[in-house]
Structure formats: structure tokens, C-alpha cells
Symmetry: C2
Subunit: 380 residues, 2 copies
């Protein structure tokens, strides 16, 4: 069953939001979509947090575009693991993103020009504070669950630490308590490609009516390599040459597309450069780099988690080399150090980091069973 | 013991070399360095093949630059694993490279202008054919051994298949019988960064007196991530912030260098953009992509190796995720299928792909023992 057509709402917040950097942002919009019905007690709300390139459009088909299916439509909907017949689900586009919420492309009311490079650096914690205001808007005192994959999982974790009384369950999928040096390195290469693109114009490319497409392309190509597993790439592309039927399988001896994997990466890069904003890319990768809740607890994650009250579902995927199962086990260990209630699933799946977005029966059944339990808790 | 000062020689070849692509190159130079003495029987010659960014300058200190130590000086020299008191060692800069051998920066005699983008695509097999002429120049009918790491190992393997009677031992370190889709993907991202750099000018940047530095920087940064292991990066950099003594350990909330790993990558990128040629980068990564000796044998590596007569030493490193031990084992298996004499060492080392360039006692002792055996065979 599908949700059918869905329509976003724009929420305006007129009270300035103080950011972790010390800056603040005044009068900002956040775009949300909601699915299902909020019950009378307002106890059945689920917040879904998005990762790098996604948005508020979690499930259903955009009323404005019949081809625009939500990024987690296989997970959220009537009868799906996160069942919208039972739960009221909110998807929110984060501050600084480029899908309608206030971000670098938005006009800064104090200058009348797009924020561009002047948009403040935002963190996972800033997003969570902004999301708490979304909860207030809906008069939701406590989410039944906050859920996310990858960077979305970081937001869910931050919720459990920052608002321990406002989250019943925390669902952290394919995530990590902090980026490794290698993770930061990949982000840095992607950012370097954008920052050094002559069309970047120091972040103020809107005024020049251009986009740093080259940088965005390279950034996305690097990203895709890290989202897929080595095996998955071998399975999908191997060393297949990009050829029309009947063409020779001899090499072309040039630097055009020769192998299928090159064609795939170039296509993904082009598509991304069409729809994504470069300043947003910089902001979101920096939020990833900065997330490190243990930092102010002498790198002791267990200490950082000492006030958590939520129950946890943590899920990792065997071939995810971006945020490998070891990283999820660090989260689980720190939760167990605090004698918290944790369910942990390590799914044997070939699809690397991307697995969290795909439909795998073992994975979806685990999430489904966990949400059954949440629903039962709400009824009792 | 070190070799002391060494001086390269330029060898000119006036007979055109037919390339795998069908093109040919006329009147080309190859730069070589030699260490040790060729014996009267000319039986003690070792050819060292270089990888992506290296050159003929394998060992010793350049007579022209006291800071320029050879790239494999820990491996080659008097008393070292490849002992120049016993062996006559040749380092050769490959065709298409940018360290003195004829390549894209060289003037095309037929136009009077640099080859630039018109320099033909060269393959591992083309390099081996060119190296065979170097052997001819020194009147070496048969190398006691051909040795290389990474792309250099591919050249050694190709020698064993293309000139089975001209190679006694084949030493293949941290290499692979062919790139995986993921390996090609990383090369493609690096090439995309170069090809899309506005200073690339379709490969004819020499005429514009510029270099596609942005592309080279990004290419090198990506490369460095793949040369180091995740653990090695964690050990070297972790999440350490780039700070002067006494500075705050609070984040800066911007896109400048924040973490040590970013500083390292940017430095490596800048250095590489200073000394390396972008057209050469394209050519050498394409040679990597194309190497696939099993391709013309219905992807049967054992069949491709059926004419090999050389004995083999194959070495891999446990944390090398670029060319993992599994890839070396494919080589070993295909050799064993042909009942060839193979020594295989899998070294437990933390330094990823870069380990082949580093001094590790287990690794060096294995190579040393193997060369002892070669020396004994030569005496008997």
C-alpha cells in the first residue's frame, strides 16, 4: 500500500535559533511532510531524519511530480514497517538544506540577497534543536521514536542525548558515533573539488547565475563509491565495457567512458549537479565531520550517553565500509555501559552503506517487529 | 649502505614502437638509472618497474639534487634486499611518464609542439615492449628478475607472459591481475577532476602556460585515501584538530583546514600538482584500467599464464584494500594451475597499499631470502 499523493507544508519560525557556532539564524522556514494521523494524546509521532542529499519527502508521491517517490517509501506507509495506519510520521528538511527549508539559496532578509557563503555552519545538534521546534509546532511533547539512517542516525542519537524526555525510542541505522579520519578525508576531497571549482565564486555563484557543477559531480562520484560495497560494484558493473549491441569488445584507447562503472558514476554526478546545491553540500558534510558527542566528555561515549532514557534499535550492514558494523557496535557498547535497553541487528547484506535505503526482508522485518513493540507500548 | 650519488642516462630509440592501440611512437627517449655491475655473462640484471607517480630514480641520491632519494632506496642498494653488490639493477621511466622519458610534455617531432592530448594511450604491454628494447640496449638477453609493486607488479607479470624466455624470476608485490570496478571508479573520479578542470584545455595546457592544478590536487587526494588503510589513517590522524600550541580545541565552524587529515591531504595534493603532469596521470591510470591479461583468454587467468616459464615471488599486505591479498591469491592460484614455482608471502602490516614502499622486516627479509636464492642459482 502506498500513501498516494503527498504535499509538503512550510513552517515558519520567527524566534531566532542560536547555533552551536555562536551565530544565530532569524526567521527561518522548515519544510515538512506528515503521514498518518496524530492521535488525541499526541503520543504516536515518529520523526524521520534525513541524510546528506534527502529531504522532508520521505514517503508517498509528490502531488506536484508523479515521478517523485519519497526516499524511504519502502519503509514508511500504510502496512509498511513504519506503519502510517498507526503512527503519525514527520519528515523534515533540515536547516541549510536545499529543498525548501532556509539555507544558502534563501534570501537573507537583512541583505535582500541569497545567504550563499554567509549561511552559518550548522551541526547535527542545531538540526535537532530546530526539529524540537517542529515538535512544539505540532504540540508533540514526546516522539514515540526518532529514526534515521547514516547522518539521520546521528540526529536520532543526538535527540536521545539532548532531549532525553522527548524521545521514547531511538532508531539508528547504518550510522556511527563519529566520523573516522578516512570518512573525513573523503568529505574533504569532495569539498576541495567544490571549493576549487572556478564557478564556485567563494560560495556566491547564485549572483553569477552559474553552479559549480564540476565540483558537485566529482563530490557525488566519490560519494557513490563509498555508498556501494566493493562486491556490489563488482556484481553491478564488474569490468563490463560500455558498448552498444554488436560493438567490438576491444578497448577504445581514450579517456571517454569505456567501462560501465564510469558511465554510472558520470550519470550520477550529472544528475546530482542538476538538483543539489553546492553550499548545502559543504554544510552537510561539515555537520557530518563535526558530529562527535563524546568530544566534550573526554572522548568517552558512555559518559556522553549517561542521561539517555530512550530505548534503542541499532542496525548495521555487513558490507557497509563507510560506517561499518564495528561503528554501530561502539554505539551499542556505550548504551550497554549505561544499562540501556538496546536491540542490535547486524544484517548480512551485499549492498554496502546504501543497504539502509533498500528493501531487505531481514532488515525490514526487524524494523517492523520493533515498531510493533512501540505500538504495543503505546496501547498499554 | 647507500649507493651514493646516481646519474640518469637518456637512451634514444629510433625504431618506431608499435603500440597496442594500433598507433605507434617514433624516435622516443627512455631515461634509465643503473646500479651495480653487469657481469660478463650479462646474467645478473634486475629490472625494477615503477608505479603511478614514480620514475627511473629507484635508489641512491640524485647527483643533481641531494634531497632526491630514490623511491625504493630501502629495497635496492649495497647489502639491501636487492643487493647491488651482486646484481645489476635497472630503473626505467616508462613511455608517457613525465620524468624525462618521451611523454605528453615532449615535443612531437612531426609538429614541433608538445604532444599534449595527442600522445597515444599506452598500456602495460607497450611499456614492457619498450623495456625489452632497454634490455637489448644493454645486451641483456634474459633478466635474472623483473620486479615491481602495484602497477609495477603488473609490468613484471606482463614480462612473464610476453617474454617467457627473457625473465628468470618475476616479483609481484601488492598487485592484482586486473582492476576491480571499485579501482576503476576511483581512477575515473580522479580523471574527471582533471578533465573538467578549466585549466586542462583539452590536454593542451602547455600552450596556455597553465596546469590543471585543481584536478591534480583532487586526483592525488583521492589516491592517498586509497593508498593508506583506514586503521593507518586513524593511527596517523584520528580526529585530531589542526591547531597551534595553546589554541582552543573548539571547532572553527568553517571550511578551512580543521582536522589534521585535511591538512595532510591538501599538502599532498599541492606537492603532487607541483611535480606531476596531468596528461601523464590520465595515461597511467588508463594503463591500470586496461591491464587484464585474461581478457583475451575468455577471462581465464590460468590460460593467459600457460606459457610462463619464470619462477614467482608474490607478496601482499593484510590491510591493503586497494589491491587486497585476495587479488594476489588469484595470481598465485593461476600460477599453481600451471604447476609453476611460486613463493607467496602475505604480510600482516598496518600501512595499507603503501606498505610495499615501506621498510618492514618480515617483508624485506622475505625479498632478501628470495634474492639470495636467485644469486645462488646464478652461481650454479
Amino acid at each position: 500500500m502506498s500513501l498516494g499523493l503527498v504535499t509538503p507544508q512550510v513552517l515558519n519560525f520567527a524566534t531566532p535559533l542560536k547555533l552551536q557556532s555562536g551565530a544565530s539564524i532569524a526567521d527561518y522556514n522548515l519544510v515538512v511532510e506528515t503521514y498518518g494521523q496524530l492521535n488525541a494524546q499526541k503520543s504516536n509521532a515518529i520523526l524521520i531524519c534525513h541524510a546528506l542529499n534527502a529531504s522532508h519527502h520521505v514517503a508517498g508521491v509528490s502531488a506536484s511530480d508523479p515521478n517523485d517517490l519519497g526516499w524511504w517509501d519502502n519503509m514508511v506507509g500504510p502496512g509498511k514497517p513504519v506503519d502510517t495506519n498507526r503512527f503519525f510520521v514527520i519528515g523534515v528538511n533540515n536547516l541549510g538544506s536545499c529543498f525548501g527549508s532556509t539555507g544558502p539559496m534563501s534570501v537573507n532578509p537583512s541583505t535582500g540577497k541569497p545567504y550563499g557563503a554567509t549561511f552559518p555552519v550548522v551541526t547535527v545538534e542545531d538540526w535537532v534543536n530546530a526539529q524540537a521546534r517542529v515538535a512544539d509546532h505540532f504540540q508533540i511533547q514526546k516522539f514515540a521514536a526518532v529514526m534515521g539512517g547514516s547522518l539521520g542516525g546521528m540526529q536520532a542519537m543526538a535527540w536521545s542525548m539532548m532531549y532525553p524526555n522527548r524521545i521514547g525510542h531511538c532508531i539508528v541505522i547504518a550510522s556511527t558515533p563519529k566520523l573516522s579520519a578516512q570518512n573525513i578525508a573523503f568529505n574533504e576531497v569532495a569539498r576541495s573539488a567544490i571549493l576549487s571549482d572556478p564557478d564556485f565564486h567563494g560560495g556566491d555563484y547564485y549572483a553569477h547565475d552559474v553552479k559549480p557543477r564540476r565540483g558537485l559531480r566529482v563530490a557525488r562520484m566519490i560519494g557513490h563509491i563509498t555508498y556501494l560495497s566493493d562486491d556490489d560494484m563488482a556484481e553491478k558493473f564488474g569490468r563490463e565495457l560500455r558498448r552498444a549491441d554488436g560493438d567490438s569488445d576491444e578497448y577504445n584507447f581514450n579517456f571517454d567512458v569505456e567501462f560501465e562503472v564510469e558511465s554510472y558514476l558520470r550519470y550520477q554526478g550529472e544528475k546530482f549537479a542538476d538538483y543539489f546545491d553546492a553550499n548545502t553540500y559543504l554544510l552537510i558534510t561539515r555537520a557530518l565531520d563535526y558530529f562527535d558527542p563524546a568530544k566534550s566528555f573526554a572522548n568517552n561515549l558512555s559518559a556522553a550517553m549517561k542521561n539517555i532514557a530512550a530505548k534503542f534499535l541499532v542496525v548495521s550492514f555487513s558490507t557497509d565500509w563507510r560506517f561499518a558494523p564495528e561503528r554501530s557496535r561502539e554505539i551499542v557498547k556505550a548504551l550497554l555501559d549505561n544499562k540501556l535497553d538496546v536491540t542490535y541487528g547486524e544484517i548480512d547484506a551485499p549492498h554496502g552503506h546504501d543497504a539502509f535505503l533498500l528493501e531487505d526482508p531481514r532488515y525490514h522485518n526487524l524494523v517492523r517487529a520493533y515498531f510493533e513493540q512501540i505500538a504495543q507500548e503505546l496501547q498499554s
